[in-house]
């Protein structure tokens, strides 16, 4: 298992995923930095991503689209806020329409990734922050493909933060 832990915080509306890889920090940074590697994992397998722009510097932007099984296009953009190789990346992820123009109707997601060496392995922590419960529901309803395939029933995650007494 590469995923070490996940934590869902309904109050702060954050999702934190901690993963560990058997590769150097610099190598893990490359999967974010190199658009050809990035597009091999960002979109779901049935909706592969193509990054047509990846200005991976603070203040830079990226543009991508995902292509669905029937040839449908779902567009997206990133505003790259902090790009501190090889350890920290913060960005805003949004949607765009079929012309590649930024959507004003869909919410954005704040993302932050930290990459660090721990005991000879590389730990990658990603934190996704959502603006409101309505936005989160809008995003889920909108059909983030993989998410919708989920079976219900994982209630333990929400209860994980309960103090033990």
């Amino acid at each position: 298992m590469t995923v070490l832990s996940s934590q869902k915080d309904p109050e702060a509306l954050t999702l934190t995923i901690v993963a560990e890889f058997d590769a150097p920090v610099e190598r893990v940074w490359q999967v974010w930095e190199d658009p050809r590697q990035l597009e091999r994992w960002w979109g779901p397998p049935t909706w592969p991503a193509t990054f047509t722009q990846h200005d991976f510097v603070a203040g830079g932007s990226s543009k991508y689209h995902m292509t669905g099984p029937e040839g449908e296009i779902a567009g997206g953009w990133w505003d790259n806020v902090v790009v501190a190789a090889p350890s920290r990346f913060e960005w805003v992820d949004g949607f765009s329409d079929e012309n590649g123009d930024r959507s004003t109707e869909m919410p954005t997601i704040d993302g932050a990734v930290t990459i660090a060496e721990v005991d000879g392995k590389t730990r990658m922590t990603t934190v996704s922050t959502f603006g409101s419960v309505e936005q989160l529901e809008q995003l889920v309803q909108m059909g983030m493909e993989e998410g919708l395939k989920l079976a219900m029933g994982q209630i333990d995650g929400l209860l994980v933060e309960v103090p033990a007494n």
């Binding site: 109050e11 890889f21 490359q30 999967v31 590697q37 994992w41 993989e146 395939k149 994982q154 209630i155």
Partner: protein
């Protein structure tokens, strides 16, 4: 409450109800089996009335149901509503788990053809 027809207001209530550690603890305990309010109150350093208020918030969010039996009010966790709330965040967890799997695959490939 019909679980797959939650309105935004319902969802807000659920998340607000879960935003408090005592309420999450009450929910945790009542998911395992029904408990009286007075039994719950023994676990917290607050008044019976304060615990009752927390239970009322959970009840409004349909996270628990309350019924009176004799002199006791019995509180029971409502798994269906909780599952619906968890599902929203689960959706995102699954996206990231899948991404992490694919990064793992990518990193385990030989370096050939990769940008160094």
């Amino acid at each position: 409450m019909v679980v797959d027809e939650l309105s935004d207001t319902d969802v807000d209530r659920i998340f607000q109800a879960l935003a408090d550690a005592t309420r999450r603890d009450i929910l945790n305990r009542t998911m395992r089996g029904e408990q009286s309010v007075s039994a719950l109150a023994q676990h917290y350093s607050m008044s019976f009335a304060a615990v009752q208020k927390h239970v009322a918030v959970l009840e409004r969010a349909a996270l628990v149901t309350k019924q009176r039996r004799g002199r006791e009010q019995l509180v029971q966790g409502n798994a269906e509503t909780l599952r619906r709330a968890a599902q929203l965040l689960d959706a995102y967890e699954q996206i990231w788990r899948n991404r992490v799997d694919r990064i793992g695959d990518l990193l385990s490939e030989p370096a050939k053809g990769m940008k160094e």
